[in-house]
Amino acid sequence: MEDIILPEGDNDLRIVISPIPPPVANLYVRVTDEAGTPQYGALITVNGVTKATGFNGECAFPELTPGLHSGSCSKEGYEVISVKLNGVAIPFSNGNF
């Protein structure tokens, strides 16, 4: 707590505040095959929102709320064999994680 010295008479105190942005979690998805080739057209769903990967095999879900989320990955003719979040393998089943 800082101290202020109020002189005799009228004093005008003005304070400017700004909102603290809520914490966010950005999710960047990259889908490849076993050889590391980016996979186009994989459908990624996170919390009911579905996006398709581009030719670089990537899509993004920005500004999610940190915490628990559900997701899935599918591409016709393919099956999911590995899912890693921040480099750590996570459990999945039938493309759901």
Binding site: L27, Y28, E34, F55, E79, K84
Partner: protein, 148 residues
Amino acid sequence: MRDITLPQGNNALQIVLKPVAVVAGRMGKWSFSVTVAYPEMHREHCEWPNHTLDFDFDLYPSTFFMDLRCYNDSPFEVVAEMVIVGSNANIVHQPSPAFYDPHIKANSSNPFSWCMTLPRTPGDYYFDAVLSFDGVVVDQGRWILRYY
């Protein structure tokens, strides 16, 4: 549905897929060709294992017309999808809708042509193509043309 816990900040989700569909026997002859009529435009390289890529280019003022030829000997319908993007911000990132049919269909007697307009802006042009049979992607590749 399972759950994942996302911490605050940036998170990288890496997913690896493995093909399960076998479409052997469906593939006919699938080819692209590029003939560079524009002297400054050079074919750099292609990333398309196991298939021939040929593009036919004819130059018109400020316009490239590209013939995308697809031949298929099988009775299955071939659907080719092509997306063109550029690494240069001045390059059109998507063909004019008037020239763009995202699902061009062709067969052995009906190779299709596909054209678009690009500005003469130096840079890398990426031609990405996807070939699918009955909705199953069986092949995809990329040509990179470097215009400088």
